[in-house]
Homo-oligomer: 361 residues x 2
């Protein structure tokens, strides 16, 4: 078996992903480089719009590093958007103030799918790879760097709807009326995502996470056919060893509490859990197949520090002793959170988790 990043100053996150013992539970936060931080808002203003921030490797690196300067986090995550792939395919991503992402062109037919160009991530998404290598260099081995992509289904919903959606009328109509068109789109996206994540790994990402934000909107059987199947293809096609060590992959489907067993069968190293699942029950269900990442309700961060600490304790106790837990929120940190509350959260994990890792609680 490959060694675990001997040159890393802090390999707690990689060790937990490999379900190996650690001194304390590692922690990072989804969307940790984000609007809740005043320094992020300042850099974003400097960059202009959101995509200009993503396209500028130095500024993307700067916002990636900001939460690490404030908090004792155990991982950095590439600052980028989940819609870079459809944008590179020519759909024309843009953002309107106060609204979600939008596309100038949508994908609604077999002809639209056929017209999508195949991508070569290293050239077509070179700005992402520049950001990855810049961040990796800047981290200087302090903590591992996570690369990421949206899942094929999640990307497809935005491409078909033309933006965010509550009910996914066009994507679901395609799923039920013309499933072969949707499968064609998802196949192309699975290929593109695999190439994109492999390019991030070659550029310096030491872990990758697939964000399946909208998998939980699918019907029970549709989840496996239209989301999980394509994440499985990505897992199968990823570089799993690089620079002499394992490159772990984390699957995160929001709202997937009922589907953990089939997710664990993909060969992923870890599953992200939202807050609707009890992490102790989840652990019993997936056994030793995967590590578990999560699972505090991000809204707990609106509560007082004492209440935050209590929730951290409850989740640590629910997971129980032994390795394989990465602490995280069950979804991204929200813009309205006080950075001091995020600090209280992270400090609670740092202070309370050693006794659980040691099995002495």
């Amino acid at each position: 078996m490959a060694q675990l990043a001997p040159e890393l100053k802090n390999d707690r996150f990689l060790r937990a992903l490999a379900r190996q013992p650690v001194d304390r539970t590692p922690i990072w936060m989804m969307r940790q480089a984000g609007r809740y931080l005043p320094e992020y808002r300042a850099t974003r203003q400097q960059a202009g719009d959101f995509m200009s921030l993503c396209r500028n490797a130095d500024l993307a690196c700067e916002v990636t590093m900001q939460p690490l300067r404030r908090y004792p986090l155990d991982a950095a995550i590439l600052f980028s958007d989940i819609l870079t792939i459809p944008d590179a395919m020519g759909l024309g991503l843009y953002f309107e103030t106060g609204e979600g992402p939008k596309f100038r062109h949508v994908v609604r037919s077999a002809a639209d799918v056929e017209a999508l160009p195949a991508l070569t991530a290293e050239t077509d998404l070179d700005y992402v790879m520049r950001a990855v290598s810049t961040i990796r260099r800047e981290l200087a081995g302090d903590v591992p760097l996570i690369g990421f992509s949206g899942s094929p289904w999640t990307l497809a919903t935005y491409m078909i709807e033309g933006g965010s959606s509550k009910d996914f009328p066009h994507a679901k109509a395609m799923l039920y009326s013309n499933p072969e068109v949707l499968h064609g789109l998802l196949e192309r996206l699975a290929t593109a995502v695999t190439d994109y994540l492999n390019a991030q790994i070659r550029a310096g990402a030491q872990v990758v996470q697939i964000f399946d934000t909208w998998g939980g909107a699918l019907a029970h059987n549709a989840y496996q056919s239209f989301s999980l199947q394509y994440m499985q293809r990505i897992v199968d096609g990823l570089i799993r060893e690089h620079e002499g060590r394992r490159v772990p992959v984390i699957l995160f489907t929001k709202g997937a509490g009922q589907w953990l067993e089939v997710m664990a069968d993909t060969g992923a190293d870890a599953l992200g859990l939202d807050w609707t699942t009890d992490i102790g029950q989840a652990r019993a269900r997936v056994g030793d197949k995967v590590a578990l990442q999560g699972n505090m309700d991000p809204a707990v961060l609106y509560a007082e520090p004492a209440a935050i600490r209590q929730e951290v304790k409850r989740i640590l106790a629910n997971f129980g002793s032994g390795p394989g837990h990465i602490f995280n929120l069950g979804h991204g940190i929200t813009p309205g959170v006080d950075p001091e509350h995020a600090k209280a959260f992270i400090e609670a994990v740092v202070e309370l988790s050693p006794e659980y890792q040691a099995g002495t609680h």
Copy 2:
């Protein structure tokens, strides 16, 4: 045991709720009186705003009857809003075009909770009771009438946030920082909902459903403490027999696929299922404790009639043979649906279900 509504011309729905044999699977649709119907839009325009439609017993009766004139549905459901209780408590419900419901006053402190008046539904919500008795008379025994209320937790979210919310920052902050204040609010709401549903039963509702739209946004353990516990109190306090027959109660928490066992233990007659749960697996988990209502993805109605028919067949097959299934969507029918597609859906249930009920498929 009480008799099943001998005077009803169609008691298929009540029989299925009692897990008794039926000739075919009964069907109704959540939000069946709604914006997808042109005749509904015409009546709503005639009424003026949405609450004026709810407050006018004749017009509320008219829109309740509209889907029954089009489709062979097996139940009618009272046309009203889920926020009538907080409105009657003086919070000042209003609707802004293109946005969800809003309140002029919010509930954020123990003093705010204390200041809420106790309600007597028969007088404080007399317009709802007039609508119930008008509809019941107009139905003339054709099909049973369903009364309903929002769950305490769901009502509380709107009262605390002042309207719809994505992340429930104020409600969750209260839950984690000041749980005793939230419990105080939920206790009052449980009392008010019990009284409200009992008044509907006395006015003529033959079945009641509790809509827990936002229970699925709660963390695993919080669901039981802050939503289910108060629905349990309501179930315990409801009139369960009236006019010489059983008054069944249906619990519907959207996103509750992981919690069906504890929901079935409340003594409810049936559980509503959204589309993320396999209805066959759900049936195996809850056994003979409850009937199951659901569970087609409402977005299937955006697909072609042939695809709709296929999904109906799949769900009937998943449930399998034997009694205890009420066909429904997994959430309300959406405004963009073609009424012809709703017709194809309902006809598919009527045509395909007899062989499953007979066990001859």
